[in-house]
């Protein structure tokens, strides 16, 4: 009896007025008496031994409270930073401590901390440190790391190779034997910087006598940070509280336990006063983890009629200087590269390497953009090779709805979906035949138009506890508490930790829908480990399907209790009670109703309750979903390329997404808009570049180019709705879909535009100069 008008209502996000008027509560807004400021002194070297750090001159600077090097702090760490299984249990990884003591492995690695009475004093003092490095030859990219005689980052591992594993299904030999068409392609997933609008920040307050630690951090994962602060610093978990206040974006970059969270907490404990650290943008660009940084070598076997037979793919993943907490999560790409297609064989190899660059970890999509890029380039490469429309090639290979639930080559089972429906809809919206006509016309005028498709399928909603234990080393699930107060107002505690996703609105809609409470009577709270049971935080487009379901289930429990109390109050049998719009009444007599507010009031007065019933109106749910959810969709990018300069504009972007039930379509659209923008950013603008000594060359937002509003078209979005069978709300995830689909849609469009020049692929970011070279490499001859 779920769906009334609140599920599916485009209600404006309740959190926005505060955020857009500058009234939000971010870490750096937090102030308290005796607050000291910590500055992290970072390695200026990509690879070096630390010979000596001379601190005496810096210690004399005004306002300095303490200066510690890695050596000073090492004895305090009872554990290294966490590393999870993340799809590669086979990997070798070094112990990674929050601060380097004898050797540095990337520019930006912490080597010392300065604590002072002001941020400026800390920065001034840091300039007086004398750090002597003995440089070692740096390993600057994946190919360099793989060389036989490459300098080795981690002596105990013995080489730069963290893992070299196979992930296969089907008979790949047969596929290549039977193929009419064999294509090889290298795909570069360039290194990206997540660039959340708010950098990271931490305030830590250790109370000496109570032995309690409170840490406020701009994080996606307060619950995990709490556990690890306790483990690493030897504090009982019950004495640690972590708060994620308003968090200005994450995109995966705040998904791990960071060195600074440990260092700031440690400084507070050592100095017996609260300590704050906030990252500036320069620091953020090199100290907060990066994303992607992969090379893919792909071989395709196909039939001339467009049927795909097999794909061989090697994913070389650059982990950076250390293996980050979810550093190998990106290897999920090897398990899902098949996408929405019937692929007879997949031969996947994953190789992870260490390089002297900032560690990489999850970045919006985390493995799914890579898998999608791979298979969607495969579709277009086959189409181009055999001279078939790329839409037709996709149709030929789609898994039929009758085959659902479909188990893919690596043993993952899709939940639902007819992949043709989003494609049909998007084709109608773009008017494909008309576009092809315009394309031909425009070429005559020296304008190159191109259209690019992406019919993606992705996996999200982490997740089923058993499956995520195998994959990530820890079981995930959803958590909620729905608690009605005496006056019938509700507090809803959720296990996820939003940082821009709009949970305060959508989760309230779920509760309002079930209980008939006005939205304004429902307060959704999150991001504080002291307010409720453990939650599993926010990443991997999991919140709506997993924690949202937990919220739904708690609401149902509360409603059922309300029905029981109503039956008692109305002196009727429970079976005869109808609950509607926040009122309960005996079937047929709605005029004699008791409201949820009256019922809740009774719930706190034991004499008004049935004899065996406990007081209160509260329910807690831990929801363990039976499967992941598998959203899908069809995105189309239309680009226009200036035939003289190579300047490329996305002139149209049409997305049809199926994320199951849409709780709040406006929030869904918001997620899509941001995601699509980020994917276009990868396709056209963004790339973290290093120089030959391992210095980040794109360390400011002038050089690292994130897309801005005038660089993007107005997005056109639409939806189909295929409810997920894995949760009662029928929702799938939408937080990453835009990014997953859009970078390859744009690249496919560029290749389509440049097909007269014989172009088959273009590396990201597709800069005007690269495109200019592609148009001119055969002397500009057109085919």
């Amino acid at each position: 009896m779920a769906v009334s008008q609140l599920i599916g209502a485009s209600i404006k996000r309740r959190e926005d007025p505060e955020l857009v008027t500058g009234s939000g509560d971010f870490v750096d807004d937090r102030s308290q008496t005796a607050l000291a400021y910590l500055y992290v002194v970072r390695s200026t070297q990509a690879h070096a031994r630390i010979d000596a750090i001379e601190t005496s001159r810096a210690k004399e600077a005004s306002g300095v409270l303490a200066i510690w090097t890695g050596k000073d702090l090492m004895s305090e760490f009872q554990s290294p930073l966490p590393v999870t299984t993340s799809f590669v249990p086979e990997k070798k990884y070094p112990n990674h401590y929050p601060i380097a003591s004898d050797r540095v492995r990337y520019v930006g690695e912490p080597v010392a901390v300065v604590v002072a009475s002001s941020k400026a004093a800390a920065e001034d003092a840091a300039e007086r440190l004398d750090i002597r490095y003995q440089p070692l030859p740096p390993v600057l990219d994946i190919e360099a790391a793989l060389k036989k005689d490459a300098p080795v980052l981690h002596d105990d591992i013995g080489s730069n190779i963290a893992y070299d594993v196979k992930r296969t299904g089907g008979d790949i030999e047969a596929a290549f034997r039977d193929a009419d068409v064999r294509i090889k392609q290298r795909i570069i997933q360039q290194r990206l910087i997540p660039v959340a609008v708010e950098g990271r920040g931490v305030v830590a307050d250790y109370k000496k006598f109570a032995k309690t630690l409170t840490v406020t951090s701009s994080t996606q994962i307060p619950h995990f940070v709490k556990i690890w602060l306790g483990v690493i610093l030897g504090i009982p978990e019950s004495n640690v509280r972590v708060i994620a206040p308003d968090v200005g974006g994450g995109f995966g970059s705040k998904i791990r336990v960071y060195p600074e969270e440990i260092l700031v907490a440690l400084a507070s404990r050592r100095l017996d006063r609260p300590v704050k650290w906030t990252e500036d943008r320069n620091e953020n660009m090199k100290a907060t983890h990066h994303g992607r940084s992969q090379i893919w070598d792909v071989e395709i076997a196909a039939k001339r009629d467009g049927r795909l037979l097999g794909v061989r793919a090697t994913q070389y993943l650059d982990l950076g200087g250390y293996c980050s907490q979810f550093g190998t999560f990106q290897a999920i790409a090897l398990l899902i590269a098949q996408g929405p297609y019937k692929l007879p064989a997949f031969d996947g190899r994953g190789v992870g390497v260490y390089t002297n660059r900032t560690p990489t970890d999850a970045y919006r999509g985390a493995g799914r953009p890579e898998a999608t890029h791979l298979i969607e380039r495969v579709m277009d490469l086959v189409a181009q090779e055999i001279g078939m429309d790329p839409v037709e090639v996709r149709r030929k290979n789609f898994i039929a709805p009758s085959e659902q639930p479909f188990t893919n080559l690596l043993g993952l089972t899709y939940d639902s979906g007819d992949y043709r429906i989003t494609l049909d809809k998007v084709l109608e919206l773009v008017d494909y035949p008309k576009f092809r006509k315009e394309q031909a016309e425009a070429r005559k005028r020296g304008k190159y138009l191109g259209i690019g498709f992406c019919t993606y399928l992705e996996i999200c909603g982490l997740g089923p506890s058993v499956a995520t234990t195998a994959a990530a080393g820890i079981g995930f699930w959803g958590m909620s508490v729905v608690n009605l107060h005496f006056t019938g107002k509700a507090t809803v505690i959720i296990g996820s930790s939003p940082h821009g996703q709009g949970h305060e609105t959508t989760f309230a809609q779920i509760v309002a829908n079930e209980l008939g409470l006005p939205l304004e009577d429902i307060d959704v709270v999150h991001g504080d480990t002291a307010i409720g049971p453990m939650g599993m935080d926010t990443y991997g487009s999991r919140s709506a399907s997993v924690d949202g379901t937990a919220v739904y289930l708690s609401s149902v429990k509360v409603r059922e209790k309300a029905r029981k109390i109503a039956a008692h109050l109305l002196e009727a049998a429970e079976a005869d009670i109808v609950y509607e719009d926040g009122k309960a009444f005996v079937k047929g007599t709605p005029s004699k109703a008791v409201t949820i507010q009256e019922i809740t009031g009774a719930a706190f007065q034991p004499h008004r309750l049935p004899p065996d019933m406990e007081g209160g109106m509260e329910a807690t749910t831990f929801f363990n979903p039976p499967n992941f959810v598998w959203p899908f969709g069809a995105h189309v990018a239309v680009v226009e390329i200036d035939g003289e300069t190579g300047a490329t504009r996305v002139v149209r972007y049409v997305a049809v997404d199926d994320c199951g039930t849409r709780i709040n379509p406006m929030v869904v659209d918001g997620q899509l808009h941001g995601g699509i923008a980020q994917g276009i950013g990868q396709a056209l603008f963004e790339e973290a570049l290093y120089d030959e000594t391992g210095q980040l060359r794109t360390g400011t937002l002038v050089d690292y180019m994130i897309p801005t509003a005038p660089d993007l078209p107005s997005f056109e979005t639409a939806a189909t709705v295929t409810p997920s069978p894995t949760n009662p709300l029928g929702v799938k995830g939408i937080g990453e879909a835009g990014t997953i689909a859009s970078s390859v849609a744009v690249i496919n469009a560029i290749v389509d535009a440049l097909s007269p020049f014989g172009v088959k692929d273009v590396d990201m970011p597709a800069t005007p100069e690269k495109i200019w070279h592609l148009m001119n490499r055969n002397g500009g001859t057109k085919r």
Binding site: K119, A120, E123, D124, E127, D280, R281, N282, E283, E644, T645, A647, L684, F685, L689, R697, T698, V702, D703, M705, P707, T708, P710, D711, T767, P768, E769, W772
Partner: protein
């Protein structure tokens, strides 16, 4: 990202400001809109110990026509230039350039004086001012002097201003009727600095190109004049093929950098394409 500490004065007159500069010598820096200087100070790439904020000196923010010249006060912001009716009519080259600088915040704070004194080879005004043969009136301890644009921009981030001189005003001869100008800027994102940009001011009288000036941004360590183009076109009729041929010479004598935004080859190519387009635009309908 916090600048090293510095002292700060806010003089009320140019004379006071110059006196402060003289007194503090090399340690002092003029602060105008702060949109080039402050970012450098935050990165501690520039660490002046004394700032002379000229922002509250009166009568340095104006655009007017005076005796056949357009005169612009040094503190005039990019935004004021972009929206000036006088400039839209008489010097659209400058309004067009101003409208393409950075984003609204930058245009609201940044000044034409600062943009000139900063002498960023990728800045947008220098090439325009060079193409327009602007004169820079500067005030120093010995009084005023005037510097021609071709002598003003010396090298990357180096103008011919002495450390104790302040730019007061920029003077540009009002282009004669029929003279048209435009600024074409090529960048990857709308708010970026130019990879290459072209400032063109052309007059076609009857069937003759009687004035042609082309300035280049991003083609060397300072703004340049595309003199080959100017030579090729002066005195011609301004037909399409003449424009094309002239534009082919846009990269002559330039030495553009290799950096994250482009290779020298690509910049040469862009200079030629943008020059042709700019010439086509300002000579259209003749």
């Amino acid at each position: 990202m916090i600048p090293a500490s510095f002292d700060y004065v806010v003089p009320r007159t140019l004379q006071e400001a110059v006196a402060e500069l003289v007194q503090h010598g090399q340690e002092a820096k003029v602060l105008a809109g702060g949109h080039s200087l402050i970012p450098l100070m935050k990165l501690r790439l520039s660490t002046p110990s004394f700032l002379v904020d000229i922002g509250r000196i009166e009568n340095l923010n104006y655009i007017r026509e005076d005796d056949g010249h357009i005169v612009i006060g040094a503190l005039t912001t990019h935004h004021d230039i972009e929206l000036s009716e006088l400039l839209k009519q008489k010097l659209p080259l400058l309004t067009s350039a101003a409208s393409q600088i950075g984003d609204p915040q930058v245009r609201n704070r940044g000044t034409i004086g600062g943009a000139s004194a900063h002498a960023d080879p990728n800045g947008d005004f220098p090439a325009c001012l060079l193409a327009l043969d602007a004169e820079f009136t500067v005030v120093g301890p010995k009084g005023e002097r005037s510097i021609a644009a071709k002598d003003f921009f010396v090298d990357t981030f180096t103008s011919s201003l002495e450390p104790n001189e302040i730019l007061r005003e920029i003077r540009i001869a009002t282009p004669p009727p029929g003279s048209r100008g435009t600024y074409l800027k090529f960048s990857r994102r709308s708010q970026d600095w130019a990879i290459v940009a072209v400032a063109a001011q052309v007059r076609v009288t009857g069937h003759e190109v009687t004035q042609v000036a082309v300035g280049l941004t991003g083609m060397g360590s300072r703004p340049l004049r595309a003199s080959g183009v100017e030579q090729a076109l002066r005195g011609k009729a301004g037909h399409d093929d003449e424009l094309r041929q002239a534009a082919e010479r846009a990269a002559e004598g330039t030495d553009p950098p290799q950096d994250l935004n482009g290779s020298p080859d690509y910049r040469h190519h862009l200079a030629r394409v943008l020059t042709r387009r700019a010439l086509e635009q300002v000579t259209a309908h003749h």
